[in-house]
């Protein structure tokens, strides 16, 4: 009976109560979507590279090596020699290795030299492979494969000719050896999307007439002659390593770090990504903080609305009292209302969240490379909901206490 009357009282104030519910559910939704994006961004970020056990490069910090080898940000401090690479590759613990050579660029996009194994071995998001969208992987020396982002932003298609520039912001171009797009990769949401991929031999080929970063004047080897040359690289920038048994990772890592003939570093990609996230993750924490503030603001708004409805409901409370309701019952009715409003808001916010996420998920994935998981609510969400209901009970205490005083003091004298 009380519940029924409390609900019909709320229903009678449908517009105010409805607006409150909408305001609260939107702020809850904001909080939950920030939280979802945050965790999804974290998963997507730490899943940028997976199933690679070690990354090796010249002696550097793990974050730096990670940044240039996987994210293609910044430069390698040094290269490692092909011989060292072969030494690592020939270790019996090593299952596979993919060499990477960096240093050149095309219109702001990094050019990466590697072999075809890269496409088979590079995995992201817990084991997804890179797939080719159009064309084929490089067959000819001067074939390039474009990441989806490069092709889209530059408007390139299969057979588009392109010239690779030396270095990253250099005006000297390898214009004597033009390339041709042979394949375009599918969108991955990883740095691969923004990479121009060529064969290691091609990197070697365009540097035939170069020495220590500058073109040797007057020397111009014809393309036909270059094609006949042995184009095995002398140096590479980094290599991705897979081991036969996970148990051997740390031994192999130590062996590489202590390799006597050259200063090399081997890092565990997972650990390095975590370390890197600690730097990037600050922004997400900030967003989380803001959405918590939004929830608090809404709670205060709810209290304000309850306060303002008190004066018009004073009459109603006097009737309850006259019928024999105790002041506690009157307070209980108000709190019941607050609980009902917050539960309704939570339900609405969950519906809104899943509705908007299921619509936006493909778009977010495509544009930002973040796969938002539209799954069941996490335990953490449940905690948040419980906390919210508790908080709304707490804030509704303020108007309820006022109602308590009204109902004790008003008696028969009701001012309307």
């Amino acid at each position: 009976m009380l519940l029924k009357l409390s609900l019909s009282s709320l229903y009678a104030r449908l517009v105010t109560a409805g607006m409150t519910v909408i305001a609260i559910s939107f702020s809850l939704m904001l909080y939950m979507s920030v939280e979802k994006l945050r965790t999804s961004a974290y998963t997507s970020f730490t899943d940028t590279i997976s199933q690679t056990d070690l990354i090796i490069g010249a002696r550097a910090s793990s974050v730096q090596l990670m940044l240039y080898s996987v994210f293609r940000i910044g430069n390698a401090t040094n290269n490692i020699t092909w011989e060292s690479y072969l030494d690592v590759l020939n270790k019996e613990e090593v299952d596979w290795a993919v060499p990477i050579s960096l240093g050149d660029s095309h219109k702001g996009f990094r050019v990466m030299g590697t072999n075809k194994d890269f496409f088979a071995r590079y995995k992201y998001r817990g084991g997804q492979s890179i797939n080719i969208d159009k064309g084929y992987l490089f067959e000819d020396l001067y074939d390039v494969v474009l990441g989806a982002g490069v092709a889209e932003k530059l408007g390139y298609d299969i057979d588009t000719p392109l010239i690779v520039a030396h270095g990253l912001q250099s005006f000297s171009e390898h214009d004597d050896q033009p390339f041709r797009v042979s394949g375009i990769l599918e969108k991955t949401g990883t740095p691969v999307d923004n990479t121009v991929i060529v064969s290691l031999a091609a990197i070697e080929a365009i540097h035939v007439d170069w020495s220590t970063g500058a073109k040797i004047p007057g020397q111009e080897t014809p393309i036909e002659e270059i094609r006949k040359m042995d184009l095995t690289p002398k140096n590479i920038t980094a290599a991705l390593i897979g081991v036969k048994s996970k148990l051997t990772i740390f031994n192999l890592q130590r062996w590489i770090n202590e390799y006597p003939e050259e200063a090399m570093t081997a890092i565990l990609p997972g650990a390095a990504l975590q370390e890197l996230w600690r730097v990037v993750g600050v922004v997400e924490n900030l967003l989380l903080g803001i959405s918590i503030v939004v929830i608090f603001t809404t709670l205060i708004g709810m209290t304000a609305i309850m306060f303002s409805s008190l004066s018009e409901r004073r009459r109603e409370m006097a009737i309850w009292r006259a019928m024999g309701a105790s002041p506690r019952t009157v307070v209980g009715l108000l709190m019941l209302e607050a609980i009902f409003i917050s539960v309704l808001s939570i339900l609405l916010s969950v519906i809104l969240l899943f509705f908007s996420l299921s619509i936006l998920q493909p778009w977010i994935d495509y544009n930002y490379g973040i796969l938002v998981n539209v799954e069941m609510l996490s335990l953490r969400d449940m905690y948040v909901f419980m906390t919210f209901i508790f908080a709304s009970i707490l804030v509704s205490l303020l108007p309820a206490i006022r109602a308590y005083w009204f109902s004790i003091n008003d008696g028969m004298t009701i001012k309307i």
Binding site: E316, M323, G324, I408, I414
Partner: protein, 228 residues
């Protein structure tokens, strides 16, 4: 058994010591079954007296006894229960919960009083029966309280005050929002029902012309003294 349904003895009340409004009620008694009209201008302390009788306010000294129990000695919970069991209240206006339907409004006191709900076998039926006797439309149960006219609302309030046969009905100027014709009809119906129920009626008004219907007419100034 005590023949007084209301017995007030040396009651003193004020909101605060600084307040200019201080009242003293030396002695005030109403017998069971009496119909009493309490006359007084606004601001004379009528409503405060009613609040004391209903147990909304506690006297600073003295005793108030309603239907045999000294209510100012009761805990606030028991006092609320005592009110629900013994007193039906009719306000000046806005008696009903506007969002609830008529029947829910009428049976509301039964929810708080075991005594009164024990007197009613079928809540809905007796509510409808009261409505019928108060000449409310037959399909009154279809209406929301807010859709009724003021006169109808006051009659529903009478039904609510009488359901479950409480021994005392307190009415605070129930006719002041009605025009003269409606007043007469309302009073006829209310008196008829109160007589049927054998309840005691204490009604407050400033309209001396209503006096002939009542057993006794009391001027508020005879009941209480102002201690300004």
């Amino acid at each position: 058994m005590d023949e007084n349904i209301i017995k007030i003895d040396s009651v003193r009340f004020y909101w605060s010591k600084k307040s200019s409004f201080k009242i003293f009620v030396p002695n005030f008694e109403i017998n069971k079954g009496e119909k009493v009209l309490l006359l007084g201008e606004s601001g004379s302390g009528k409503t405060t007296l009613l609040s004391l009788i209903c147990g909304f306010l506690n006297p600073l000294s003295g005793s108030i006894s309603i239907n045999g129990s000294t209510i100012n000695k009761l805990s606030s919970k028991t006092k609320d229960e005592h009110r629900a069991d013994n007193i039906g209240i009719i306000f000046q206006q806005f008696n009903l919960l506007p969002y609830a339907n008529v029947i829910d409004n009428i049976v509301l006191p039964l929810y708080f009083s075991k005594v009164r709900s024990a007197n009613v076998t079928n809540q809905r039926e007796s509510a409808l029966n009261l409505c019928k006797q108060l000449r409310l439309p037959d399909d009154i149960d279809q209406y929301k309280a807010s859709s009724l006219s003021v006169g109808q609302q006051q009659r529903v309030a009478v039904a609510r005050a009488l359901i479950g046969n409480p021994s005392l009905v307190i009415a605070d100027e129930p006719t002041s929002s009605l025009d003269t014709d409606a007043q007469q009809i309302f009073l006829d119906l209310m008196f008829e029902q109160i007589s049927n129920n054998k309840s005691t009626l204490l009604m407050v008004s400033h309209d001396r012309s209503l006096a002939e219907r009542f057993d006794r007419l009391i001027d508020i100034n005879e009941v209480l003294t102002r201690e300004d």
